[in-house]
Structures are given as C-alpha cells and as structure tokens.
C-alpha cells in the first residue's frame, strides 16, 4: 500500500488451551465428539452449579504471558460478561474485563524488508468458550451442542501496530510458533483451536488520529486473514478516495466470493454489564510462581534461532527450517550430540527427515528413528561406508521396519565398494561401453564424468563409492 494512506491493523486471537479438561469443570475436551456427550451440570449451566478454575489452564495462560513478554497481574480476578445466546447456557461468560491476566507485552516479527519489528500485545486474558449452534437449512430451528462450552480460552489482543496484511500474516505465524513451542495449544485454525478477528482502519499518512475501525469476522485460515485485510484495505482506500466516510462496523469475510460483506442486521451497542465474578475467589500470582513457570518453559523459537545462528553458523534459511518446530530443533541438537557436524546433520534433517515428516503427516517423534540411529546413518554416509543414495534407502527402511541403520546396511549388503581392486572391472567396462561419454570427457566436457560415474553406480547396483569411481575414471581417461 503506497500513496497517501497508512493502514493500521490490530488482531484479536482466541486460543483454545490444550488442557485435558475444561476451564471450570472436569469434562474432557474431545474434538469431534457426539453432541452433548462431554457435558456436566456445571458447563450446562444448570441452576445451582458453581465454577472451579482448572489449575493447568491458569499455568498455561501464565506461560503464554511470559512468552509474549507481558506484565502479569499480581492478583487475578474474573468478571462476568452478560449477554444472551443459546450457546452460552448461563447467558453470561466468565471472562476478564478491567484487569486481564497479562498486559503490556510484545512479539518480534520479521518485517517485509527483512528487518525486525516489535508488535505490542495490549492484553491477554482468560475466558471460557461457548458451545456450537447449528442452523437448520429448511426449518426455522437451530440446534445447540454444549460440548465446547467451558473450554479454556486465552484472548490475545495486539496493539494496532501492524501496517500491512502481510505483516498480519507474519504476526500470526510467529505467535503460532511461539505458542506451539510451549505445548499449550494446538493453534490450528482449521480445527478451531485458534480463531482470529481482524481490525483495520486507514488514515492519511502523517495523521495521528485513527480512522474508522472495521472489524472482520469469519476468518478460517491465516491466508483468509491476509486476503480479507487486503480486500478491505482496497475497499476502504477506494471509498476514501471518492470522498466517502468509512462506517465503523463489523463485516464478514466471504471465502467463496473473496469479499467482506456488511452484516445486514442492525448492531446494538452491547451493554455487557461487567462485574466481578462472585463465584470465583481471587488468584494471586506470586513472583516465585512466575519464576517456577518460567523455569519449566522450553527455550522460545526466537532465542533458539539466535543461538543456532551463532553456535552452528548455519544460514538463516537453514536455521528457520530447523527451528520451525520445537521437536525438530530438539532432534537436531540431539543428533549433533552423537555426530558433531552441524551443516551435514542440518542437510539430512532439512532434506530427508522433513520429507518423511511431510509424507507421513507425522511429527519427528512419530517417525520412530532415534537421534542416535540417525547420527549413525549420517556418519556412515559421511565417511563413505555407504553412498548417499543408499543412505536415503536405509533411512526409509529404518523408519518402516524400526531396525537400526547398521543392521539394515549389513542385511542388504549395502557397504560401498571403496576398494580400487573391486571397482577395476566396472570402471573398465563402463569406459569400453561408453565411447561417446569417454570422448566427451577427454574433449573437455566436465559433466560427462558425472554421467560415467552414474554408469558405474548402475553397474555396481549403487554400491560403488562414487568419489572413488570418479577418481579412477578420471585417471584412466586422462592417461
């Protein structure tokens, strides 16, 4: 967006915490369960019930607060947000209003120009989720499933520091990475464990006052957030250019038509009548509790990124790949512990291991190969015991059968032939059978050698040590 306007974007993210049970009762959180099977008197909002806070949910919230560099409230209280909806059985939501658990934080993202930019976090607070409402297409009824009611949520509100739809996208991927590292949420927009509403306004460059804010809802993926903001940015720019005023409103993103649409119904300003939740006592967050939680947290992705760069001297792209998931980064370092060649191990993880992960849609742990075994394999390839091609084969076999690489190499007799004597006949045959190739090489075509080496590999069923084969061919041809 160039020209005379500046785009101002803020994002509200709702995160479902991955505790075993709900925020205020012992019902389990099971994705996709049959309707109204994970409910109890408390989350059903029956007359006479009372909430009791899930300790783990509280700890997870503190973890996120620390990871987002927030100040944490010393005394945490909850408030009731009163409004009517069939998926909210008490017709109030237990949330936090004027004293959110966390506030005044920040997240560092890589801006479009490659530099680093801090995005402020206004607040992060805990609240309970509502249920699901399904509308009947043909009859004038709706159906309520309260399984999701009471799921612990963390609402994270950013400062309006984002300036482009791309930055918004990056903010989301960064937040997701940070939080996935903590293992406190699945952060999956498709499954609903991460939801996002976006706020966008435009103002003339240099103007301090904010323009009219438009809220965009119904965003179901990070891409949708970027697309919707892009569309809305254009819509507002066009409107302002033609002298129109932007109405402050909520618009819905239509994924099919790729447009934002004004909501038809009149929006009443909601009067939520917030007041402190009398059924929950206050929660004190002592400095020692914060330290205890901080000590139990793994190294965050941004810190790890810095450390990997400095310690292992890998490229930015390499580091980015290794650090993308905590399990992968841990696996990398564990493997290094057995075979200390950072670039070599990196190549294997970035290459073959990531390929297997993608193909099997599994995490690195689910592949079943230990860091020790991977190191063993890499060592064998690196020292020439087996060829690179064989190495890939062995890795696949090890993952599929669970057998150690060493065992597989022996069983399949994959040891490279690195003995000159053993290769002599193969090399001679190849030169004889490939006159054109041999002449090409003698004539100065360097890649003819590679072709000839390939032929030797074929002849030896991949067992030849390609480096040795190449040397032998070169010697003979240059003779």
């Amino acid at each position: 967006m160039n020209g005379k306007y500046e785009t101002v974007i803020g994002l509200e993210v709702h995160l479902q915490l991955s505790t075993k049970t709900k925020a205020f009762c012992g019902c389990s959180l099971i994705f996709g369960a049959e309707p109204n099977t994970e409910v109890c008197p408390v989350c059903l909002g029956l007359p006479g019930v009372l909430p009791v806070l899930n300790r783990k949910a509280f700890e997870y919230a503190i973890k996120v607060a620390i990871a987002l560099d927030c100040d944490i409230q010393k005394t945490v209280k909850f408030d009731r947000k009163n409004y009517y909806y069939p998926d909210l059985p008490k017709n109030y939501q237990i949330s936090q209003y004027d004293m959110p658990l966390a506030y005044n934080g920040k997240v560092t993202i890589t801006a479009e120009d490659g530099g680093l930019k801090d995005i402020g976090i206004t607040r992060a607070h805990m609240e309970e989720d509502a249920g699901k409402l399904i509308h009947d297409e043909r009859a004038p009824f709706s159906y309520v499933d309260l399984n999701r009611t009471g799921t612990p949520l963390l609402e994270i509100v950013s400062e309006p520091d984002l300036r482009t739809p791309e930055e918004a996208y990056t903010y989301l991927t960064t937040i997701k990475q940070i939080i996935k590292y903590l293992d406190v949420s699945d952060c999956n927009m498709e499954e609903g464990s991460l939801r996002c509403d976006a706020n966008i306004s435009l103002r003339k460059k240099g103007e301090k006052k904010f323009g009219s804010k438009v809220e965009i809802k119904n965003l179901n993926s990070f891409k949708a957030v970027r697309d919707a903001l892009g569309f809305e940015q254009e819509r507002q720019r066009e409107a302002l250019d033609s002298g129109e005023e932007i109405i402050q409103e909520t618009r819905l993103w239509d994924e099919k038509k790729m447009v934002t649409l004004s909501m038809r119904r009149k929006e009443e300003a909601q009067d939520y009548r917030y007041f402190p939740e009398p059924d929950l006592v206050p929660f004190e967050v002592s400095a020692s509790l914060v330290e205890e939680v901080r000590a139990s947290m793994p190294e965050g992705p941004q810190k790890k990124q810095k450390r990997f760069s400095e310690t292992y001297k890998l490229s930015a792209k390499d580091v980015e790949a290794l650090v993308s998931e905590r399990d992968i980064a841990d696996f990398y370092e564990e493997t290094l512990g057995h075979f200390n060649k950072p670039q070599v191990v990196c190549n294997w993880i970035k290459g073959e291991i990531m390929r297997h992960i993608k193909e099997r849609s599994a995490g690195v742990k689910a592949l079943g190969i230990s860091a020790h075994d991977l190191a063993e394999l890499i060592k064998m390839v690196d020292s020439g015991v087996i060829s690179g091609l064989s190495g890939k084969e062995v890795l696949t076999a090890s993952i599929e059968t669970g057998k150690a690489p060493g065992v597989i190499v022996r069983e399949k007799a994959l040891e490279q032939v690195s003995d000159e004597g053993a290769l002599n006949s193969a090399v001679d045959e190849v030169i004889k059978e490939n006159e054109k190739g041999a002449n090409d090489f003698r004539g100065g075509k360097a890649n003819a050698l590679a072709f000839l080496v390939g032929q030797v590999m074929k002849k030896t069923k991949g067992k030849a040590n390609p480096k040795l084969a190449g040397e032998m061919l070169r010697k003979r041809l240059e003779a």
Binding site: T19, K20, T21, C25, G26, C27, S28, E34, P35, N36, T37, E38, V39, C40, P41, L44, V52, L53, N54, R55, K56, A57, F58, K77, Y84, P86, I134, H135, D136, P140, F141, S142, Y143, V144, D145, L146, R264, R265, K266, D271, R273, P276, P278, L280, V281, P282, F283, E284
Partner: protein, 105 residues
C-alpha cells in the same frame, strides 16, 4: 439512550431499555407501575451517596482470606446425554432445539 437525572427519577425509556437488556418486555401499565416503584427505591438508595468512601476498597469477596482455589486437570465422568437433555423443552437427536434467530429487516 438518554440518562435521566441520575439522582432520582428513572424515565420510561430507561425502564424499557433495561427491560430489553434483561429480555423482558413490559405492558404499558406495568411499565408505569415499575417506573414508579423503581424510582421510589432508587430515591431511597441514593442515600449511599452520603457515605464517604474515599480510599475504601470495594468488597468483591467477603472471605478476604480465600485465594487460589483450583481443581486439578483430571477428567471426571460427564453426564449421560439423556440426563443432560432430560429437562430440555425441545430437543432433536442429541441437541437442544431452539427457534432460529431471525434477523431484523
């Protein structure tokens, strides 16, 4: 929505607004009666304004000693769906059934 002179009377409009917030709707004669009674009560309650509460903390919990009451993150038996729906005025399969929200034109 205009706020009347806060100290005493409450207007019929305000009563209507408050009723809507509470999902109630009052007939004309009830509106008049409630307005009168609420005014009288609020007038009495206005005496709280006499109390000097400068520097006084509000009581949100009368048990000042109770803090940090948690439950552990261990699953408990849910209610069988039949029991969960046993008091539902209308149901279909495993769901509570309600009239659809109809948007205002």
């Amino acid at each position: 929505m205009e706020h009347a002179d806060k100290k005493t009377a409450i207007t019929e409009d305000l009563v209507r607004y408050v009723a809507r917030l509470a999902r109630l709707s009052l007939k004309e004669e009830d509106l008049v009666k409630f307005r009168g009674q609420l005014s009288q009560i609020l007038e009495y309650i206005a005496q709280l304004g006499e109390v000097d509460t400068e520097g006084t903390l509000p009581t949100t919990h009368v048990l000042t000693s109770m803090k940090n009451v948690f439950r552990e993150d261990e699953p408990a038996e849910p209610l069988p769906t039949e029991e969960a729906l046993s008091n539902a005025p209308a149901r279909k399969d495993g769901f509570f059934k309600v009239p659809k929200i109809i948007e205002d034109a």
